[in-house]
Symmetry: C2
Subunit: 330 residues, 2 copies
């Protein structure tokens, strides 16, 4: 497989150099792999730190900025960052009011953020954590014990980030983050595999004419493979999977997320089918976000994430956010 | 090839239905295929209208909003919109101060916008045009007489849109649009072909291990094919091609644009190499924008566009823009 890279070994460092060029509002530490708001620590504000394997851009470094994350720690492609990165990030952004670690539920991330939390506490930083595990497709997969964390990460980072921006204490920021995670469910499909730089070829084989229902964001197996379906059929399947697990009474925010190689033209068409499928099941939609936000390198496919919201969560969703990957109100 | 669609015939209409769901701030006329700012016509403002074949999203409909376009007319995939769409759009957004048509230099677009200009003038709308032809790769290709219009379209729409927002007259908005086009050059590469819904397969064949230098945004042939190159080598080739034709004395704005299926991780790494290549040739960079903006469905590859700017153009670039695809300051 051809890739727009120099050598696989420098892909993450090269990308961070490019982020530094494109986003002078971020402090990008290429050597130590930490991306920080240039105005951090923000006095009186609880800080949010996340991180995970690279290859899911703009998640997480693209969500650093006012109203979302204070810092992100990119690991190697599809590989957890190390505790040193997280401790360094926490120290750089802590204003004295504490740090919330936003952790997607993958074994490596969980272990390393746990270790980092202990190390940061030893250095006098108060740390709280939220685990994101929204993917209803499978339990206990290749990378995870329990459910995987996928699209809800964006909801958690956005909404908890907005509350932190208002000066809320660490316990409240953690509580709203947990509430967002518990109110969110995701389901993804792949029409093909992605290609990691290190492997240089597809991460799995998917026969022509078939799709994988319930794909993970690292190409982990889903629930089943079927002959190719239409956009409308896929939307029905994904929405059924999500609503079987959530059954919302209130309106939802919807993320129709591209996995990387699916054209925006197709994603918007899929969003129309998701809207239809939700409406047919009696679920009201308050907001819809369409685009490539939690990606899997060059994987063709899409995921649907819904988050049940009340007025408070919707107000925090609508609050200003100023990051490379998500931006409004500033 | 698998696609996330219902049937090829409804791809554009389906996408417009999805745009309407995700962007209530736009008035999306699915039947007539016109996307308009909901607050149009804006009193006292010159209106900008663009359009072209679908498959290049977010261009153009994703650039409708304050500070950029007042309306966009999406054609079928890789096919010019028809004059009726453009006339309807012009009538919907004209405040009485006239309309600027932003036209990429492809034969069908040029003919249809010319015809639409005549028809709109007959209806009492004052129309001016700007032709975008920034691609230095080839002259007279499959879709075009002269140079193709590609990435500079974003610069033209953004900068002329900002001037229109300030209340400038039609002649001034047209003049700045022309100046931006004349100050811009682009060069693109493909690592593979894109797949159109109608064809259902690759639009061209590119052997494994080769790339196409100078690709068009519809997969039109470029200058040459070569064995696969590194990101740094591609950046040097593209920057040489651009600077051979422009030789800027002032700083430039740079667009490092993904063609659709190239991961953001790779695009950022490529942006770092473009920055290095420009610096090595003595060209100062004022701003860098990285992302998928002028795409070719699911084509893997990237393009580089530079626009030489003075203080006025840079001020207009930095002015607020509130569209689904490009957004800051609001």
């Amino acid at each position: 497989m051809k890739m727009l890279i120099n050598v696989p070994e420098t892909v993450v460092a090269d990308a961070l150099r490019g982020m530094a060029v494109a986003h002078p509002e971020l402090a990008v530490d290429v050597e130590n792999r930490v991306v920080v708001r240039r105005d951090a620590p923000v006095p009186g504000k609880v800080a949010l730190v996340s991180g995970g394997g690279s290859g899911h851009e703009p998640l997480h470094a693209g969500f650093v900025g006012r109203g979302m994350l204070d810092a992100a720690c990119p690991g190697e492609v599809f590989t957890s960052p190390v505790p040193d990165q997280m401790v360094r990030a926490a120290a750089a952004v802590d204003s004295g009011r504490g740090v919330l670690f936003v952790v997607k539920n993958y074994t490596g991330d969980v272990l390393n953020f746990d270790m980092a939390a202990e190390l940061a506490e030893d250095e006098g930083v108060q740390v709280a954590k939220v685990l994101v595990n929204d993917d209803v497709a499978v339990v206990d997969s290749l990378y995870t014990a329990g459910r995987r964390g996928t699209g809800a990460t964006l909801f958690v980072e956005k909404i908890a980030g907005a509350l932190a921006e208002e000066g809320a204490p660490l316990e409240a920021v953690q509580a709203v983050a947990r509430r967002v995670n518990e109110s969110s469910r995701s389901f993804g499909v792949a029409l093909g595999a992605c290609t990691t730089p290190a492997k240089g070829g597809p991460t799995f084989d998917l026969p022509p004419g078939e799709l994988e229902l319930g794909i993970g964001i690292h190409g982990e197996p889903g629930r089943e493979r079927r002959p190719m379906m239409t956009s409308g059929e896929i939307a029905d399947f994904a929405v059924d999977a999500v609503l079987d697990d959530l059954a919302p009474d209130s309106p939802v925010i919807v993320l129709v997320n591209g996995m990387g190689a699916t054209p925006l033209l197709e994603l918007y068409g899929f969003a129309a089918e998701v809207q239809r499928a939700l409406g047919a099941r009696g679920t009201a939609v308050a907001r819809t976000l369409v685009g490539n936000y939690v990606t899997s390198l060059d994987m063709p496919g899409a995921s649907v994430t819904v988050c049940e919201v009340d007025e408070e969560l919707l107000r925090l969703w609508d609050a200003p956010v100023c990051t490379p990957g998500l931006r409004w109100g500033c």
